[in-house]
């Protein structure tokens, strides 16, 4: 079975890998929020920071582009749509349509922001164990009412764990249907029904067995807390990110 993503966690000796997951998550939230409010000049320091973070993941730009191909295609479509739909000075005119300078600039800025946020998010995933991300999310959710933070953390963990399982089950179901000539069925709704019902049944059965297995391993309201440790590097990273965010918004 192949590795699911180039952006899965890989152990390396970098500053980003060594940072506290809470710091990385807080930095992602702060930089993403600032990026949505920043102009082109403000995005430059954040882009430098994101490029540095991406370099530390060890993923090559080509591999990253291949992994993000659908996202990049979506961004290209957004850019084109903004170019076509925004009023302004026409750059290219074809039939009744015109691509405007202002539209391309606005679309470019939007795509730049989203690419920046995506790169930061993927850098977080590639340099942080998912268990640490889960623990950081739970830590940030502590003050909120509702399910306990560790229950939310467990839910996130189970989601990450079972997405590949469900995808494998979907592929097995599809293969079994193809082996029995599902392609000969013309009605797409019927084909969808034959695909989804067994998959849903298997997924619910898996969930049922999982709940039983978790109970058998003493899952309850309390667990060993995650051992957090903030050091000088984490504080330095927080100050750097805070400064960059302030610059992004002010320029």
């Amino acid at each position: 079975m192949a590795e699911l993503s180039a952006f899965g966690f890989r152990q390396r000796l970098t500053v980003l890998h060594a940072l506290d997951a809470r710091v990385k998550l807080a930095a992602l939230m702060a930089l993403s929020t600032a990026a949505l409010a920043a102009g082109p000049t403000g995005l430059v320091p954040a882009t430098v920071l994101a490029a540095g973070a991406f370099y530390q993941t060890g993923v090559t730009p080509l591999r990253a582009a291949a992994e993000m191909r659908y996202f990049l295609l979506l961004l290209a479509m957004v850019w084109l749509a903004r170019g076509l739909s925004s009023p302004g000075d026409p750059l290219i005119t074809w039939g009744g349509f015109a691509v405007t300078h202002q539209g391309l600039a606005a679309g470019g800025l939007l795509c730049w922001r989203w690419l920046l946020i995506a790169l930061l998010g993927l850098s977080l995933c590639a340099t942080t164990r998912s268990a640490h991300i889960r623990a950081a999310v739970a830590w940030f959710l502590r003050p909120l009412p509702g399910p306990t933070a560790h229950q939310v953390g467990t839910m996130i963990g189970l989601l990450l764990r079972f997405i590949p399982v469900i995808l494998t089950q979907a592929k097995e179901t599809t293969d079994a249907l193809r082996a029995r000539a599902i392609k000969n069925r013309r009605n797409p709704l019927r084909r969808l029904r034959y695909m989804t019902l067994p998959l849903l049944r298997r997924t619910f059965l898996t969930a049922d067995r999982l709940a039983l297995a978790m109970a058998a391993r003493s899952f309850g309201d309390r667990r060993t807390p995650h051992p957090w440790q903030m050091n000088y590097r984490d504080w330095a990273a927080l100050i750097t990110v805070g400064t960059v965010c302030a610059v992004m918004i002010s320029v």
């Binding site: 164990r129 268990a131 963990g157 590949p164 898996t206 297995a213 391993r217 899952f219 060993t224």
Partner: protein, 256 residues
């Protein structure tokens, strides 16, 4: 492991009954006693009640009638204690594994017991070492082979330090090397003094190591005793007699 009280059998049931609606299947008046450190094979055809009985020992099910004791204490009085002392490895290892990595999954049980971080870490390292999973610590369980996944499920249970380890069809869907890997671990756990309760419908692979064979049929205990005494009866209850026994020989280990 906690100090042993040798006066009680580690597991015992008295008149245990359980009924699943609407099929009516379940357990009927099960009375048995398992001494500490015994290697017991629980055999029987599908639907005979093997898995249901194991779940009662672990406190996952509550009896409709009768009592289940764990080291002299009724399981129903303290199910959390039962889950700590009795590890259950399910038939479908894929559904049992909850961690995103091998290390995370093994740590799940000890963390649920609220052990200190150092104790969790030590238990995880020991379990990985024993099951030969150390080199896979940061792998996703989804990428493991069937045998590795089954060993991970055992490691996840072993890290909680159980006195009793129960395995439900541990050899299902495994190839020959996978079966030998798992069997070696089961024999090693028994060698460490743990009580082993292994449910299987194919006796060939394991009966050479067992001290006692219990045959279940339609929710009842049909036969119970030393392997040599019970083995000749198994085909009456739709359990296949191992080839060597069929030829009049004693059943040898798959590890030889």
């Amino acid at each position: 492991m906690p100090p042993h009280d040798h006066h009680h059998p580690i597991l015992a049931t008295q008149g245990l009954s359980h009924r699943f609606k609407p099929s009516g299947r379940g357990l009927h008046d099960i009375t048995l006693s398992i001494p500490r450190g015994q290697f017991v094979v629980l055999a029987g055809p599908n639907g005979s009640g093997k898995s249901t009985l194991l779940r009662h020992f672990n406190g996952l099910l509550t009896p409709r009638a009768g009592t289940v004791w764990l080291d002299g204490v009724p399981v129903a009085a303290d199910p959390a204690r039962a889950r700590r002392m009795v590890g259950l490895v399910f038939q479908d290892a894929e559904s049992q594994i909850v961690g995103e990595t091998v290390r995370d999954d093994i740590a799940f049980g000890p963390e649920n017991l609220c052990w200190s971080c150092d104790a969790v870490d030590a238990a995880v390292r020991a379990a990985m070492d024993q099951l030969g999973l150390t080199h896979l610590a940061d792998e996703s369980p989804h990428l493991l082979s069937g045998g590795e996944r089954r060993r991970l499920a055992i490691a996840g249970v072993l890290a909680m330090g159980p006195e009793v380890v129960m395995l439900d069809e541990p050899f299902a869907n495994l190839d020959y090397p996978g079966i030998r890997e798992v069997l070696r671990q089961v024999v090693a756990m028994h060698g460490q003094g743990r009580t082993i309760l292994l449910a299987a419908h194919d006796l060939e692979k394991v009966v050479g190591h067992a001290q006692r064979l219990i045959i279940m049929d339609k929710g009842r205990i049909a036969a119970d005793g030393p392997v040599v005494d019970v083995l000749p009866l198994v085909e009456q209850y739709d359990v296949r007699l191992p080839c060597q026994a069929r030829l009049g020989m004693s059943v040898t280990s798959w590890l030889n």
